[in-house]
């Protein structure tokens, strides 16, 4: 009987030690989680953006071959490699920018433009477009273009499109990799509406909405 209790005591001591070392659920830890028998959990297949020794540069997601472009991106039904006004913002075969947006401007495009503007442009150019976004407020970027300025208003739509995609030296980098072509035109439409709104008069606001303004 003595040995029985001794063995039981030993076992409980062991269990307590395990608990003491392993700790409770949800404790923060730095080392990667332990995975036992992980041959199905981590299969030998390509996953995006992870190291991969098969490729020469060690990555699973490969960059475009130099000098090539994607034929189509996403559900954009336009052949993006063609030099159309929609793709380049320029008149086909020329270097001057198209004056107006070459895609149909609908309420849906405008709503999309507002959403995309608020994601990618608002941090610097602010919700109204006046260039007083958070980056200027915290003093991180001294120079941010005011989109309601005359210089931004007189340029053709195609040039606004071009700046979104290719950036504007010296400070703004291009967003071609982050914003799809359709969305760039949507943003152009929305920026135009911000500029229009800046110089609107009270009489142009629908009577029902005037009370909401000061």
């Amino acid at each position: 009987m003595r040995y029985f209790f001794a063995a039981l005591f030993g076992f409980l001591l062991l269990a307590l030690t395990v608990f003491g070392i392993a700790g409770r659920r949800g404790t923060d830890f730095r080392k990667p989680p332990l995975e036992i028998f992980d041959d199905m959990v981590r299969q030998a297949k390509l996953r995006p953006q992870v190291p991969n020794s098969f490729m020469a540069d060690g990555r699973s997601s490969q960059a475009h071959v130099a000098g090539t472009v994607a034929q189509r991106i996403g559900d954009h039904g336009n052949d993006t490699w063609q030099g159309t006004a929609e793709n380049t913002g320029m008149e086909p075969g020329k270097t001057n920018f198209v004056a107006t947006i070459p895609v149909p401007v609908t309420a849906a495009l405008m709503a999309r433009g507002r959403e995309r503007y608020n994601i990618s442009c608002l941090p610097c150019h602010s919700a109204t477009g006046d260039g007083n976004g958070i980056t200027k407020k915290i003093g991180a970027m001294p120079v941010v273009a005011n989109l309601l300025d005359k210089n931004a208003i007189i340029i053709p739509d195609g040039q606004v499109f071009h700046i979104i995609g290719q950036g504007k030296a010296p400070n703004m980098q291009g967003y071609a990799a982050n914003i799809e072509i359709n969305d760039r035109w949507a943003i152009v439409a929305y920026v135009r509406s911000l500029q229009r709104a800046r110089f609107a008069t009270l009489e142009e606001v629908p009577a029902a909405d005037r009370a909401t303004l000061k």
């Binding site: 395990v18 949800g26 080392k31 990667p32 332990l34 299969q43 992870v50 958070i134």
Partner: protein, 216 residues
Amino acid sequence: MSDIFPKWTNKLPAMVIVGGMIVGGVVTAGITYYMTPKYARVGYTPVQPVAFSHAIHADQLGLDCRYCHNGVEKSWYSNVPAASTCMNCHNQVLKDDPKLALVRESAATGKPVPWVQIHKTPDFVYFNHAVHVNRGVSCVHCHGPVNKMDEVRHSKSLGMSFCLECHRDPAAKIRPNEHVFNLDWQAPEGFAKSGGAKLVKDWNVHPGESCSVCHR
């Protein structure tokens, strides 16, 4: 006979039963408690090569999740941003800070920043980010309040029971699409019954519980 079986053996059956129950109980409890992602993964906070703070970028500065994770609405996986995306601001902000050396090097040479992946579903699970975020499932449901984290921490188990909890009752968690990337959004009282149920119906959400929904 007493020479073969000493007297203490009379208590042997009781010892085996009681001992077996105690040992078996403790071992079962231990396995139940420890051998699950709730223990194995929750709390994983690796040291990242660049001390990127979501709390500063998403919460203080108010950047939308999609400024960096710009593919999440179109793709099955949520991309880690290219270093060029960081450089959109950091070509001016902290442009010579040694903490950002790896990012600058990556943008200049194409050498990836060796970020440590935290949320890793098993390879036999086919989770699709786009279909979730486009139908009212917020980042916060699976990743926790990332916008408050200085270091990203694995905060939900992402085990199978975690997925099924929502797949069995999507109305309880679903939210309007405009609040998917607003991680601080709180559903109004009773939203699941009225608004949530309506979204499930309007969007024709049938998450499914059969194996092949997630395992192919």
